[in-house]
């Protein structure tokens, strides 16, 4: 009825090519963003910031990055945790070496450093693919974490090998450190996420994204029609690592505030992000968000219901959560192997035809 294309006439090319061609879609997204930017900062408290919103934003960015590489370009990577560590340590070294540097620049530069590292570790992708590439990227995961543990320069020779985020300000308001107000850290992360989600969406719709998808679908055919595998694969690694680096920097600077490489950036993190994009939907921007939200919020939700609401023992709940999340993952993948984003896509198709389906 109200969710339809008919009656919404596009009279220009830009109108025709916009991200959300359906007016209703467009307004919902704009309203959602407006709500996130304008209303949420007034409602947010420490708990919502630290346990719900900031983690979801940070992990969404990481999922977005991996989705570019795996979902759009078809290169499986298990090095996400290591690349997040690069972002985190880059931001730490930058901000401790140049305390006056603007935080936006620190975070962006951390992404840049990670992109360079990503290109180096992406080189094997030119020769190997599939499972073998996954194993090669696994090496980056272990190497990078080992490196940050081994070389004291990276953690400024601190006694415990921990890195701690110093207090930093944006427009005079703390966005890292213990005194940062929840709304400020939230808005800081949200800005990055919204801007880079928009960039990712446009990248994947443009020439670069199409060449990634060509490589993903059949690399030999793509090469024959003139898509250079070297440039395409390495650009996917660079862009993906850039995103993951930014998310690692935010993860450390804004969310955790202190980190040690083995625990904060271990192999589980690489798997977590991979699961996010598989659950959410490979090759979908929206899927990255919904996958991250699923993997981060479900345990918190179950914990709140079962421990906070029902008063069950914490260890029982911890085990039940494992089972429930596992069960849910299986359920969703059986119902829709292409992820939650596909469910949403199907819903939208149905909505367009409603109430008169064929």
């Amino acid at each position: 009825m109200f969710y339809r294309e008919s009656g919404d006439f596009k009279t220009s090319y830009s109108g025709d090519q916009q991200i959300f061609p359906i007016a209703f879609d467009r307004w919902v997204v704009i309203a959602f963003c407006a709500f996130a930017f304008v209303v949420v900062p007034f409602l947010i408290n420490d708990y919502w910031e630290k346990s719900v919103l900031v983690p979801v934003l940070v992990w969404s960015l990481a999922a977005l990055g991996l989705n570019i590489l795996t979902g759009y370009c078809g290169q499986v990577s298990l090095g996400t945790g290591g690349f997040m560590a690069v972002g985190a340590y880059a931001s730490y070294k930058l901000t401790t070496s140049f305390p006056e540097m603007n935080m936006f620049i620190v975070i962006l530069l951390s992404g840049g450093v990670t992109a360079l590292v990503g290109i180096v570790f992406g080189l094997p992708s030119l020769r190997i693919k599939g499972f073998y590439l996954a194993v090669a990227t696994l090496a980056s995961q272990f190497f990078l974490v080992w490196l940050f543990n081994k070389v004291p320069w990276f953690y400024n020779y601190s006694a415990s090998g921990q890195i701690s985020a110093p207090e930093r300000f944006v427009f005079g308001i703390a966005i890292s450190g213990p005194n940062s107000p929840p709304w400020a850290t939230y808005l800081f992360c949200l800005t990055f996420v919204v801007v880079f989600a928009l960039i990712a969406k446009n990248l994947t719709r443009g020439r670069l994204g199409r060449s990634w998808m060509a490589i993903r679908d059949m690399d030999i055919a793509a090469e024959i029609i003139g898509v250079p595998p070297l440039k395409t694969k390495l650009s996917a690694f660079a862009v993906s690592s850039f995103y993951i680096g930014i998310s690692g920097a935010l993860f450390f600077m804004v969310y955790l505030g202190a980190a040690e490489p083995t625990e904060a950036f271990g192999i589980e993190k690489s798997f977590l992000v991979l699961f996010m994009i598989i659950i959410g939907g490979l090759g979908s921007i929206f899927g990255s968000f919904i996958g991250a939200a699923f993997m981060i919020l479900m345990p918190v939700l179950f914990k709140n219901i079962m421990v906070g609401g029902l008063g069950w023992p914490t260890d029982l709940v911890a085990h039940l959560i494992f089972m429930l999340i596992g069960g849910l993952i299986m359920f969703f993948l059986i119902v829709e192997p292409h992820g939650l984003a596909q469910l949403w896509r199907v819903t939208k198709e149905k909505l367009r035809l409603w109430p008169f389906p064929h």
Binding site: V28, F32, Y47, Q162, G308, T314
Partner: protein, 432 residues
């Protein structure tokens, strides 16, 4: 988006459900872990912590007449879950946090200080937090890792007749902030005593240690020290037994010294040593009360099988120190319903005498503890305990002795000054 909103709505619902249970009582959150690779050590500690408060409620009607409420939150020894636990419990009026994880402690030091809630990292966490002038809300009495390292080296020196020149000491450590803590002290002591230090890192969770023990087998260091936790302890002791390393030359920190760590190796673990900051076994008066009021009435936490084990004792000790601090705070401020800020004052004024410990049914359980504004690390005393595999018991084989204060205090001053400079903290004036 649909799902996010649904989830958010449900979380909001769950949160309001949780908030309704708050009432006028003293809240002691227990950031424990009963699952994961560290559960064998986390469970007895959590049981002891919880049972002691249950005992106070059942026997004395709480602390100063106000019932204590333990708020368990499962962290799985994971820092992110630890942060979630902290944020979800602090709103309920949490008086003191005991994260039982050095990683989570590091995380909470700035946050809790900003929120004005004290953290008691009893014998773990950041060692230099012993300097109360810099760390106003962080306490790590009755002893620190650096005290432990120094006490162990002292014990080795005693065994070797006072001369450690050209001896080799290896440190097998958990490759995390926790395991790395003693390194600096051991290096300083190596300079002083002239021994060689070999460092062997074991990665989380510590199941895989073959190469480290192969190196020990090849190099045969005179002593092996261990900074391990969870499943790492059991594996290390088993590996040491496999290479027939002399167990009485293998000494752990107080976190590598529970029954769960030595039992899997069986008789081969006989003679394994560790440093301790409190007594062992269940031969204390408080156990009669625990049995009568908690175990027999079916109110024990967990399955009630951990009573008298080392880590149960430690959890109980932590709860006892917390409740005594709360009592001190009630006396200072003249109110039974204390706030976290009052609790902090109570912790800083804590003076636990032997007479008071005897009154609590813990005679000779541990050294007297007194804390003041400048010293948050307490007495820093430790004894060596040894495992008797045939009897299945630990026993203290030395008196409680102090650390090499010259070395440790200088390091604490240096590290806390670095922290103060990094975070723009002006050290408090403690009037001394």
């Amino acid at each position: 988006m649909k799902h996010t909103k649904l989830a958010a709505a449900a979380v909001a619902m769950a949160m309001t459900l949780g908030a309704n249970t708050a009432s006028a009582d003293l809240v002691f959150p227990s950031l424990d872990y009963r699952t994961g690779p560290y559960a064998p050590n986390g469970i007895p500690f959590a049981d002891g912590y919880s049972d002691y408060f249950t005992l106070l409620n059942e026997r004395d009607g709480g602390i100063g007449g106000v019932p204590a409420r333990v708020l368990p939150c499962e962290t799985g020894y994971n820092t992110e879950k630890g942060v979630e636990c902290y944020e979800s419990t602090k709103g309920e009026g949490a008086l003191v946090y005991q994260p039982l994880s050095t990683g989570i402690t590091y995380q909470l030091i700035p946050k809790a200080t900003a929120d004005g809630i004290p953290v008691h990292s009893m014998g773990y966490g950041r060692t230099s937090a012993a300097n109360g002038k810099v760390f106003s809300h962080i306490f790590n009495y009755p002893g620190t890792y650096w005290d432990a390292a120094s006490i162990i080296v002292k014990h080795i020196a005693d065994q070797e007749g006072g001369d450690l020149k050209d001896k080799t000491i290896a440190l097998v450590y958990h490759n995390s902030a926790y395991g790395k803590e003693p390194i600096r002290t051991l290096e300083e002591l190596a300079k002083k005593h002239g021994y060689n230090l070999t460092l062997l890192a074991v990665d989380h969770p510590g199941q895989e240690q073959k190469s480290q023990w192969l190196q020990i087998r090849r190099e045969r260091p005179d002593y092996v020290l261990m900074w391990g936790w969870g499943v790492m302890n059991q594996v290390a002791i088993q590996e040491a037994a496999n290479i027939r390393y002399p167990m009485d030359h293998f000494i752990g920190v107080w976190w590598s010294a529970s029954e769960n760590d030595v039992l899997p190796a069986g008789d081969a673990a006989n003679g394994y040593k560790a440093v301790a900051f409190h007594g062992v076994g269940s031969g204390f008066g408080v156990y009669d009360d625990l049995k009568k009021h908690v175990v027999d009435t079916g109110k024990a936490a967990g399955d009630g099988s951990n009573l008298g084990t080392v880590l149960y004792n430690r959890g109980m000790y932590a709860a006892m120190l917390a409740s005594e601090a709360a009592r001190t705070a009630q006396e200072i401020h003249g109110t039974a319903d204390i706030t976290p800020a009052m609790m902090r004052d109570g912790m800083e004024a804590l003076n636990l005498t032997e007479a008071r410990m005897a009154e609590l049914g813990l005679a000779n359980f541990g050294p007297e503890v007194s804390v003041d504004c400048a010293n948050h690390g307490g007495p820093g005393l430790g004894a060596i305990q040894q495992w008797d595999a045939a009897a299945g018991t630990w026993s203290l084989i030395t008196e409680f002795t102090g650390a090499d204060r010259d070395v440790v205090d200088a390091l604490i001053a240096e590290d806390s000054a670095a922290f103060a400079a990094e975070n723009n903290i002006t050290p408090r004036d403690c009037g001394a």
